[in-house]
């Protein structure tokens, strides 16, 4: 039986490797598209972050343009290098939308006098929340104003001979004990999701070709009349689908590595370099094994669907629905952080693989969870393979017309 499986596997691999369409969609596209996508997404997010925190152009309205107001703004600019003072504007909306400024300020009359007397002053901050560069800059500007308020309060208290310490009776001292850097969070959200979806869908082109495609090309019947048992033929095809499923993951990861090499910030959405992972080797191996098992489960399901389908097109239709079945559990756990993973997630298909990977990326060792994910994955492999074998033996599916 092993000899026959090997013969079928070798032939299927050779046959599919000559199919440019399958090769392109499973291997070449991820290597080319992923870096481009990552660079575009990462680059645009990085740019967006820069617009929110850097080069905050501020202008006065013409109505409040006085020498003292200009001095006030210049003082703010001196406090923070990201503040850039622009010429006063007539129409705030036009100035913001024509990208002349990000924020417009209107100061009440006599504000300078009030400030000198330590009286509250009204500063009207005009922005357009529909524009990231304007709405996003509000927080940064307000933080500078907070610093100014604190500085004024300290100055006043000193004048009155009171210790400024009374401004903060409770002092917060932050200690971040996360085992992974903040900049890894995007990777923790996206990498397990990417891997799970790719493992699940990577084998689809091969699965479609290997049974439904053979039915359509009328090559399946002669194959079934050769000496090997149906199980040998099935396992040979099953292994081929697995190879393509993992090849697509490897090519995607290669694409991500290329994106990282071009611009390391793409994998963290501009929040610094990724790194600082501290997974235990055994846990990492177990997670990879769980991913392998997930790929095997989906290969079995794809083979069963391909066996059921009458034609290539019918198979593609069914398998496109399978993609949605993967996306639901995958996206529902997208924002789940490693510490928030619930025990049930380790036994739900797809979720279990994603959870295992999140643990690894979060530097958390939870062997109970990994064991649950492993056992449940093994059960799913057995079920899917049994289903595929059962359908492959059934005449009503094999010769459905």
């Amino acid at each position: 039986m092993l000899k026959h499986i090997w013969i079928v596997f070798k032939k299927e691999l050779k046959d599919i490797l000559r199919d440019r369409k399958t090769l392109f969609s499973s291997i070449v596209i991820p290597v080319l598209i992923i870096p481009v996508l990552m660079l575009i997404v990462g680059g645009s997010t990085q740019k967006m972050t820069q617009e929110m925190y850097e080069d905050i152009t501020v202008a006065l309205t013409k109505n409040s343009d006085t020498e003292s107001a200009r001095n006030f703004l210049n003082n703010l600019a001196a406090m923070d290098e990201n503040i850039i003072v622009a010429d006063p504007v007539d129409d705030p909306w036009q100035a913001i939308n024509e990208k002349k400024v990000k924020l417009v300020i209107e100061l009440e009359d006599g504000f300078e006098e009030k400030l000198k007397n330590y009286e509250p002053v009204k500063l009207k901050l005009i922005y357009d929340n529909s524009l990231t560069r304007s709405g996003g800059a509000v927080g940064t500007f307000e933080a500078i104003i907070d610093r100014l308020n604190t500085a004024l309060a300290v100055e006043r208290l000193n004048d009155l001979g009171i210790s400024p310490d009374i401004l903060s009776f409770v002092r917060v001292e932050r200690q971040n004990i996360a085992r992974t850097k903040d900049s890894n969070q995007f990777l923790m959200m996206m990498l397990p999701l990417f891997i799970a979806i790719l493992v699940a869908v990577g084998g689809i082109p091969a699965a479609t070709d290997l049974v439904a495609g053979e039915k359509e090309r009328m090559t399946l019947e002669p194959l079934l009349t050769t000496r090997p048992s149906r199980m040998s033929i099935l396992v040979g095809k099953y292994l081929t689908i697995n190879v393509f499923s993992f090849a697509s993951v490897i090519s995607t990861l290669t694409g991500m590595v290329i994106a990282y090499a071009v611009n390391p910030a793409t994998l963290s959405l501009g929040r610094g370099n990724i790194g600082g992972f501290s997974a235990e080797p055994a846990a990492l191996i177990l997670s990879l094994f769980i991913t392998l098992l997930m790929g095997m489960s989906f290969s079995g399901i794809q083979l069963a669907i391909s066996t059921y389908a009458r034609s290539f097109k019918e198979c593609q239709t069914y398998l496109s629905l399978l993609v949605f079945a993967v996306m639901i559990p995958a996206y529902s756990t997208m924002f789940t952080m490693p510490n928030d993973i619930q025990p049930y997630m380790f036994v739900i298909p797809v979720m279990n693989t994603i959870s295992a990977f999140k643990l690894i990326l979060g530097g958390i060792t939870n062997y109970t969870g990994l064991a649950m994910a492993t056992v449940s994955s093994v059960v799913y492999v057995i079920i899917s393979l049994y289903l595929a074998a059962w359908m492959f033996r059934k005449e009503q599916f094999m010769f459905r017309s």
């Binding site: 013969i7 079928v8 032939k11 046959d15 199919d19 009349t225 050769t226 000496r227 090997p228 009503q396």
Partner: protein
């Protein structure tokens, strides 16, 4: 030798093949005749062990199709329909080699047989070309070579000339006659009466899965007022069709 013993096949409530019993002797060319849907392909599929009989069985070269399907498959060469069923992305040689390997032949044996068959079918010019690039006639030759690479005792051919042009049909017919000369047993289905008359030692006419006539063409004609095969077929099948 092929021996059918009350071979039957049901698909749900439909009886596709109904208790077929006949024997095809070694070295005989035997024609299975019937209308579309008469049960010819189902019968051949059962003999090829692709479908399991609902009841009854058949014995091919001493092996029971129900009990020893893998041994049966090693003894038969199969070609279904005018479509060749070749893998387009593999070369002709690779197609042949694949089936040789699946039938447990050694590489040396496959190479030797491939060379021999390439000479017989005049395939040397396109042996290393991808099957998808070949003409229909070339593909048919390649399919025949692939079907007999393991030197089977029995050939099961389901409408092998369907959709072929005149010269390709002639080649197929010559191939069938050549197999007979080599002592092979050939069971084939066909719609073409002239082809049946030209090739078959004996025939079986089936209608709605049932055997309605069995014997040499002359025997069947003599028992039916010496009608031509075509008239005979229409009478045997048409009468029951009308009834």
């Amino acid at each position: 030798m092929i021996e059918l013993k009350n071979l039957s096949k049901k698909f749900g409530n439909i009886t596709a093949v109904d208790s077929l019993s006949f024997t095809v002797e070694k070295g005989e060319i035997f024609g299975l005749i019937g209308e579309n849907g008469a049960g010819k392909t189902t019968t051949l599929r059962m003999l090829a062990t692709m479908l399991a009989p609902t009841s009854g069985t058949a014995v091919l070269s001493g092996h029971d199709i129900v009990k020893e399907p893998e041994k049966v498959r090693g003894k038969v060469g199969i070609l279904f329909g005018g479509e060749s069923g070749l893998y387009d992305r593999l070369t002709v040689a690779e197609n042949i080699r694949y089936f040789g390997e699946l039938n447990d032949m050694s590489i040396d044996e496959i190479d030797r047989r491939t060379k021999m068959l390439a000479d017989i079918f005049d395939m040397n010019d396109f042996l290393n070309k991808r099957a998808g690039k070949l003409s229909k006639g070339m593909r048919q030759k390649a399919a025949f070579a692939r079907a007999i690479i393991h030197d089977p005792d029995i050939l099961l051919l389901d409408e092998p000339t369907s959709g072929l042009d005149v010269s390709a049909i002639r080649e197929v017919q010559n191939f069938i006659l050549e197999q007979k000369k080599q002592g092979k047993t050939v069971l084939f289905s066909s719609h073409t009466m002239s082809e049946i008359e030209k090739l078959c030692d004996r025939i079986a006419i089936i209608h709605k899965g049932k055997l309605v006539a069995l014997g040499t063409i002359d025997e069947i004609r003599q028992s039916n007022e010496n009608l031509s095969l075509e008239e005979l077929f229409v009478r045997l099948v048409g009468d029951k069709h009308d009834a």
